[in-house]
């Protein structure tokens, strides 16, 4: 019952797909952000697992940079959402169609 790299990669892809379904399904922007965080975390697991099984630290480095990207995403994303909410009072994706040509 040894756990191999494939186990971790399958787990990562399952989580990635859950996140993908969330991205396609959600209309509330805050809930949509949650789904994107799931995507980032799934890739993090894959990177850490590859780093462990190949014996190379680069995978962990990429995971660190992904965490940094997630932190920036939250700061900017929530800032934009606050501006949008102040203007419209809603954070629904379907309402964001003012640029329809």
């Amino acid at each position: 019952m040894a756990i191999t790299l494939t186990h971790y990669l399958v787990l990562a892809s399952v989580l990635f797909v859950i996140g993908l379904i969330g991205v396609m399904r959600r209309k509330n922007l805050l809930m949509l952000f949650f789904a994107t965080e799931i995507l980032l975390n799934a890739t993090n697991i894959a990177f850490a697992a590859i780093s462990h099984y190949i014996g190379d630290l680069s995978g962990q480095m990429f995971a660190f940079f992904i965490i940094a990207i997630a932190a920036s995403e939250v700061a900017i994303g929530l800032g934009l959402l606050i501006v949008w909410y102040k203007r419209t009072g809603k954070i629904d994706l379907d309402q964001m169609n003012s640029m329809r040509g």
Binding site: I3, T6, L9, V10, L11, A12, S13, L15, F16, V17, I18, I21, M24, R25, R26, K27, N28, L30, M31, F33, F34, A35, E37, I38, N41, N44, I45, A46, A48, A49, S51, I54, G55, D56, L57, S58, Q60, M61, A63, F64, F65, I67, A68, I69, A70, A71, S72, V74, A75, I76, L78, G79, L80, I82, V83, Y85, I91, D92, D94, S98
Partner: protein, 192 residues
């Protein structure tokens, strides 16, 4: 043996938690399940020997990112049911499963994994945090600095976007003054 038990336990817990996050219509369930899922993911990092990454995962994701989302939830008044219009649920699942099959096919393709070589082997005699530090501050120094600049830009962006009219204290104003503030704000907002 222990590794297998831990892996399957945390895998099941993570999948259940993230499924709740994606599927529920109750915003509080979503954020609680999300935070729990993040902590369970750090368990994988501890199993894989990436202790430093696991601790960072707990501190950054659970301590900061999800708390910021909780703050956003209170701000946007979405602490109860989230009403969303569902257009076509079936196509979402079909696309999701198709993507799953493709991702698994790409990952398990033997061509990819056979050509990977360890460029920065994990040193045996130092702990994980020392090893991470050595690689991070030699080979990945430039990306590290760029990430620092990116975080600075994100911080300034967040302050500028969210911090408009922060110098006016609503608690010290009268009710009419606050209303007047809104009216003064509207033409500017309606200018788009």
């Amino acid at each position: 043996m222990f590794e297998a038990i831990a892996f399957y336990l945390f895998a099941a817990l993570t999948i259940v938690m993230f499924t709740i996050t994606v599927m529920t219509s109750q915003a509080l369930y979503a954020i609680t399940a999300m935070a729990a899922g993040m902590i369970f993911i750090s368990a994988f990092f501890f199993i894989l020997g990436a202790d430093f990454l696991g601790a960072i995962q707990i501190i950054v994701y659970t301590g900061a990112v999800m708390a910021l989302y909780a703050f956003g939830m209170m701000f946007f008044d979405t602490t109860r049911n989230v009403v969303e219009k569902r257009t076509n649920p079936r196509i979402v699942f079909v696309l999701g499963v198709l993507a799953a099959v493709m991702v698994v096919a790409i990952f398990v393709a033997p061509i990819v994994s056979n050509n990977i070589q360890a460029l920065y082997p994990i040193q045996e005699n130092v702990g994980n945090s020392q090893a991470v530090g050595m690689v991070l501050f030699t080979k990945y120094l430039v990306p590290f600095e760029l990430a620092a600049v990116m975080l600075l830009v994100a911080m300034i962006g967040g302050i500028v976007l969210a911090g408009k009219k922060m110098d006016k204290s609503l608690t010290l104003m009268k009710e009419e003054e606050i209303d007047g503030l809104d009216e003064g704000f509207e033409p500017e907002a309606g200018g788009h």
